[in-house]
């Protein structure tokens, strides 16, 4: 089924110059870029090596990209429903098509309609006319790209997709014209990923467990937001000693209308949830601020993607109960099922795939001209650009340190492959774990059971996430943003 989507998008983008709704006469995309774009939107990543207003017709944007934004998000929710039913102990995990249609038509479509209507009312364009041509006050000609932006934006924000209508995403005044659209769009990022946790609680009938997980995820999100805010409230480092007033915030890559704190808050929300839309340029964030989006994508669980965020933390839950079980010398259990060797092996395989793609890819591209020849910034920051691109692909995020010249054949192919593998491995393996757990006879809970709906479990889970994350990614963080920050002091 996924393969069908992939072919579908390829065909549309390939034929866009012959299809309708192309008022500005956009031509065909280059082969590897087409592969990358198809992989990107099929895998709910929305990494963009093209610039929407430059390369794509309205038809391609709506019927290829926006369509995938709906269905890739619907697929994520359906996958979580299957996982939850397996863990509830159902032998049948449900009909994928039925779940997918429910998620698309009963959750995403109504939400998107409300959000799009709100955004239209707040001033976002929604037109099928081609670019406007203006003669400016100083008699220059300005061509202003526009389009049916509002409809596209709503599902882009709600479905943790993040691919923008315009190249610079929600920094663009047509995607995000004022303070209030910024608030609405930022809330839309978090809404469905947060709701997914409660959905899991409802299906499994364990709302208290869901509440504990929700709080753990919230703690991770708020911590990163606080740190990002703190570090961004510093003047752009390069201007030290120059005759520039200290605005008390780094304004490079930011829009004034959203207010000073909007950039770092959105940057954390969008990367913790696998959304990937941006309202400031992440490449231009202060180095320690830029580390927070990276951490968000490395852990990928502070609500995570629509549906798949909970699937990610499920892996950490398995590790958490395993560690806790080992500490008291008892076979670990999760939701009344024994967690044994097979489940642990699968969980670790799924967890290890993520750093393998990120660190392996970054190492390869940092050592060769494939990556080193495409950088926009010198030194450690250049390494951060490569690291960010692979983190974003592997976390199905789609944001970028966009200075990177990433529309090259090696980048398109490498990140395209990573996005596809990193989408489907972390869905298939956890479902296999759930299937394996479901096939076991439930163990009755007794006084020795480690309960997963207590604050103690929350601490164990938080510990598993942070410890595993730190062990895997701290060395790379030191080489990139931390080295750059210390160097600029």
């Amino acid at each position: 089924m996924k393969f069908n989507y992939f072919v579908e998008l390829d065909a549309k983008a390939l034929l866009q110059q012959y299809l309708p709704l192309n008022p500005d006469g956009k031509g065909v995309l280059e082969g590897s870029l087409l592969f990358n774009t198809a992989a990107s939107f099929t895998s709910n990543t929305n990494l963009q090596h093209y610039s929407g207003e430059v390369s794509l017709s309205y038809f391609s944007q709506l019927f290829a990209l926006m369509w995938l934004q709906f269905i890739s998000a619907g697929t994520g929710i359906a996958a979580l429903a299957a996982l939850a039913r397996g863990l509830r102990g159902d032998t049948q995990i449900g009909n994928f098509y039925a779940d997918f249609l429910r998620a698309s038509f009963l959750v995403l479509l109504p939400l998107a309609t409300v959000a799009a209507a709100l955004l239209v009312w707040l001033g976002i364009p929604m037109t099928f006319h081609g670019a406007a041509v203006a003669e400016t006050l100083e008699s220059a000609t300005q061509t202003i790209a526009r389009g049916p932006v509002a409809a596209f934006l709503a599902i882009k924000q709600l479905g943790t997709n993040g691919g923008g209508w315009f190249g610079p995403n929600a920094t663009h005044p047509f995607e995000n014209p004022n303070f209030w659209t910024n608030i609405v769009e930022c809330l839309c990022i978090l809404l469905v990923p947060m709701g997914s946790v409660w959905m899991f609680g409802r299906i499994t009938g364990r709302m208290k467990h869901a509440a504990v997980v929700f709080v753990v995820m919230g703690a991770l999100l708020l911590t990163k937001m606080t740190v990002a805010l703190g570090f961004e409230m510093e003047q752009t480092a390069a201007f030290t000693g120059q005759p520039v007033t200290d605005a008390g915030v780094n304004l490079e890559g930011k829009e004034l209308r959203f207010g000073a704190s909007a950039g770092p808050l959105w940057a954390v929300a969008t990367t913790c949830t696998s959304n990937g839309s941006v309202n400031c340029m992440h490449d231009s964030l202060n180095p320690p601020t830029g580390l927070m989006p990276l951490i968000g994508m490395w852990l990928n669980v502070a609500y995570g993607g629509v549906g798949v965020g909970f699937i990610n933390i499920f892996l950490y839950i398995i590790v958490g109960v395993f560690i806790a079980g080992m500490m008291v010398g008892r076979t670990p259990e999760y939701l009344a099922h024994k967690v044994e060797t097979k489940e642990m092996t699968l969980a670790l395989l799924a967890l290890m795939a993520h750093p393998l793609f990120i660190l392996g890819g970054a190492a390869l591209f940092a050592a060769t001209p494939w990556g080193a020849g495409t950088l926009n910034n010198p030194g450690s920051h250049g390494f951060s650009e490569i690291l960010y691109e692979f983190s974003s692909s592997a976390a199905n995020n789609g944001s970028g340190f966009e200075g990177l010249g990433d529309n090259t054949v090696p980048w398109n192919i490498a990140t395209g492959l990573v996005m596809l593998l990193a989408r489907f491995i972390p869905i298939i393996l956890p479902l296999a774990i759930a299937g394996s757990l479901a096939s076991k006879k439930p163990v009755p809970e007794n006084i020795g059971t480690f309960h997963t709906d207590t604050p103690l479990f929350g601490v164990v889970l938080l510990g598993s996430v942070t410890l595993l994350g730190a062990l895997l990614f701290l060395p790379a963080a030191v080489l990139g943003p931390i080295a750059e920050h210390l160097g600029s002091l």
Binding site: P125, L137, Q142, G253, N279
Partner: protein, 186 residues
């Protein structure tokens, strides 16, 4: 085979509903409720010619106009973007020098930070009130206006996006320049 048929039916159904139907509803709503912003908030002059969009910055270089923030894409509204320079990148200092010169900035009269930094889209339509006040002497001289009156007028024009939640007063560059051309300050 059954799976393929089901998939194809799903594809057709979701396209009809999520792409065609949904887009049509939002499009209809936009033209019914907010036709001006739906088209991109275009501003026309007395003869009906489009002079720009109220959302989008355009380039100003003449002394008689307020200037917007620098743009990494030369205010090209058909291929937008930021500089993507790291805050530690020495290129920022190189880029700063012509800006300092154009605005006549020096240690006694430092340049407001928003006029030294490029926005994310390259099309930020606003500058801070401080940045407008900073440019007021130049604009007043070029137009033969009283500097004090221009300053007071700017103060009255300033918007505060987000009110108390926002972070201070902003000036919309294009609207302000249009108002100046209309002779709103004498």
């Amino acid at each position: 085979m059954q799976h393929v048929i089901t998939s194809v039916r799903l594809v057709v159904l979701t396209m009809l509903v999520c792409c065609a139907g949904y887009t049509a509803v939002i499009w209809g709503l936009a033209y019914a409720v907010t036709p001006w912003t739906a088209e991109g908030s275009l501003i026309t002059d007395a003869s009906g010619r489009v002079v720009g969009s109220a959302r989008i910055a355009q380039e100003f270089t003449q002394a008689r106009y307020f200037w917007p923030r620098p743009s990494a894409v030369g205010y090209n509204a058909a291929a937008t973007g930021g500089s993507n320079l790291s805050p530690t990148n020495p290129k920022l200092v190189e880029r700063l020098q012509p800006l300092l010169e154009a605005h006549g900035a020096n240690a006694e009269r430092p340049l407001p930070a928003d006029l030294a930094t490029a926005s994310g889209s390259g099309l930020d339509p606003h500058i801070t009130l401080a940045a407008a006040r900073y440019q007021a002497p130049r604009v007043a001289t070029a137009r033969g206006l009283s500097e004090q009156e221009l300053m007071q007028w700017l103060e009255r024009r300033a918007e505060t996006p987000g009110g108390l939640l926002g972070s201070g007063k902003l000036i919309h560059v294009l609207n302000t320049n249009l108002a100046l051309d209309r002779g709103e300050v004498h």
